[in-house]
């Protein structure tokens, strides 16, 4: 690569990165300065932590963060288990109705529970699961996307490995656990990331099914400031956003190499 090329590429990377990080920079700027400096980027602006105090007092963010954490790990964990079982069934077992049942699963690939909120609320209510973390999670834990994705990976596993384990006397579940799951690690990682990002951002459904502090995720907490009847208070919204996102941002900055490599190690497909 010529020197000119390198400059060009580095310049491009820098510019694009700057564009992408602008919202975060703006969030940091407003969160640490009085609201009078929200649109006024002078270097002499005084620094303050008052916005964080205001945000902290407005909603129990520590609890919301814990709820989101439990919710996201719970959903992703349950999805892994249920989808792996079904994917294994569809990939390696022949049984009557397989084709039609699989196409029914595929229909759910793009049909998100978000658009079936009223009907789903009735079902959750019938299970008496309104205002519980399970209630938020239930419609999502069996995911057509997950089944489809994991099945694709399982189908690439050589039959011989399967047969060898069976000759050793392993049952289906043990074969799934010992042969298939380890080989599908990168798929789990990729799918896990999609799922985590989805539920970290989800707002409307949790708002509808939750009633109490003990169950609400961060997004619902953030919406206290997002209502615009009396104008947007960027300084406080952004302080709250940073408070809830900082742990993840810092973690990514510290571990990004390992993070990317763990995808790489087995080669994401």
């Amino acid at each position: 690569m010529s020197r000119f090329d390198r400059y060009l590429w580095n310049g491009g990377a820098g510019l694009l990165a700057l564009l992408w990080v602008l919202p975060l920079l703006f969030a940091v700027w407003t969160a640490f300065h009085p609201s009078a400096y929200e649109a006024n980027f002078t270097l002499s602006a005084p620094i303050t932590l008052e916005n964080f105090v205001k945000a902290w007092n407005a909603a129990p963010f520590a609890r919301y963060f814990l709820n989101t954490f439990l919710l996201v790990t719970g959903i992703t964990g349950a999805q892994f288990v249920l989808c792996s079982l079904a994917a294994y069934g569809f990939a390696r077992f022949r049984f009557p109705g397989r084709g039609i049942l699989f196409s029914l699963v595929l229909l759910q690939l793009l049909v998100m529970p978000d658009i079936l909120i009223v009907e789903n609320y009735k079902i959750i209510r019938a299970f008496d699961a309104v205002d519980t973390l399970q209630g938020i999670a239930l419609p999502y834990i069996a995911s057509g996307f997950g089944v489809f994705l994991i099945r694709q990976t399982f189908m690439t596993v050589p039959r011989e490995l399967d047969d060898a384990a069976r000759i050793e006397g392993a049952g289906p579940l043990s074969i799934l656990w010992r042969v298939y799951v380890p080989l599908a690690k990168p798929t789990y990682l990729a799918y896990g990331l999609v799922s985590v990002s989805y539920h970290w951002n989800n707002f409307l459904w949790p708002l509808i099914v939750t009633n109490s502090t003990e169950t609400r995720p961060v997004t619902v907490g953030l919406s206290v400031f997002a209502t615009t009847d009396s104008g947007v208070e960027w300084s406080v919204i952004n302080a709250a956003t940073l408070m809830t996102s900082a742990p993840l941002l810092i973690a990514f900055l510290l571990f990004q190499r390992q993070f990317v490599q763990s995808f790489m190690r087995a080669g994401i497909k």
Binding site: L16, W20, L22, G89, Q108, L110, M112, T241, L249, L253
Partner: protein, 290 residues
């Protein structure tokens, strides 16, 4: 006769399938039924109306408008965000100073919840003292009102979606790039292939599975991601930035016209199913060729 394999198969798929039935097929079927009934109002129960709701749909100019908007939205956001994601991954796959920071920059959209980020974008777009106008003003250009003008509202919404998606998809491309053996490109270079040829003939084909994975997600999001519209434009001006799911939300939860909302949902569902099946065949074929 029941074979053991059958029973295993059924048992394995039972938990996932029953939940999918309960939370997708059953409510979807209810929606389909609701779409041929009237909306129950003021003590009047729903009654069968046949295809009347669908007839109304055909004559509803707002429906056609949001459908066309949504197609533009999909056409605009899907290819651009995938191309940008790939470009970003290529850029930060090479070692250079500040690479970790650049990667983190691209990762921010994944972490900042859309409901909070929409407010930040609102500031960027604000006429006069907003960031875009401050920068334009610095160079002596005039002022904009991007969200308040019908022709620019939808593109402004699309930019936010692209920002959100490209950074997210970059991660998958980056991981895939790192798993491509360096020797492949090295061998090609020795044979005199240029960088562009290497990318076109080696890198890009090897990234195909990732591209397909990412494109499924992009299609889903093109019809699902509407949170930012609530804060940025509310679908305005005059439905210029409204999308199908947003219109469904308005009809069902603001106008409480549940029957018509169900009818719109059926249209969205059929559209999505069509896309899902289409993509499945594409994906299935490509992966098996490998």
């Amino acid at each position: 006769m029941l074979k053991r394999e059958w029973i295993y198969g059924w048992l394995l798929i039972l938990p996932a399938l029953s939940l999918i039935f309960l939370f997708t097929h059953f409510p979807a079927a209810m929606t389909l039924i609701n779409s041929v009934f009237s909306t129950p109002r003021g003590g009047k129960d729903a009654h069968f109306v046949g295809l009347a709701n669908y007839e109304r749909l055909i004559h509803d100019p707002v429906f056609w408008k949001v459908l066309v908007n949504n197609l533009w939205y999909a056409l605009g956001t899907i290819p651009v965000s995938i191309a940008l994601a790939l470009l970003m991954a290529l850029l930060v796959n090479r070692p250079f100073k500040g690479r970790a920071l650049a990667r983190m920059a691209f990762f921010t959209p994944t972490i900042l919840p859309l409901i909070a980020v929409a407010n930040i974008w609102l500031f960027f777009y604000t006429p006069g003292f907003g960031l875009i106008d401050q920068i334009l003003g610095f160079f002596g250009f005039g002022q904009t009102n991007l969200l308040g003008t019908p022709s620019s509202a939808l593109p402004a919404i699309m930019v936010v979606a692209i920002w959100k998606e490209a950074g997210f998809f970059m991660i998958f491309y980056l991981a895939a790039l790192q798993s491509i053996p360096l020797q492949l490109a090295e061998a090609a270079r020795i044979e005199g292939a240029g960088r562009w040829t290497i990318f076109r003939r080696i890198t890009f084909p090897l990234l195909m599975p990732t591209t397909l994975f990412v494109s499924i997600n992009a299609v889903i999001n093109a019809f699902r991601l509407v949170d930012h519209i609530f804060i940025l434009t509310g679908g305005g001006p005059g439905n210029a930035s409204s999308l199908l799911l947003y219109y469904i939300y308005e009809t069902s939860f603001r106008f409480w016209d549940t029957a018509y909302g169900a009818t719109l949902t059926v249209v969205l569902l059929s559209l999505l199913c069509l896309l899902a099946v289409g993509q499945f065949f594409l994906f299935d074929r490509k992966v098996h060729y490998k």
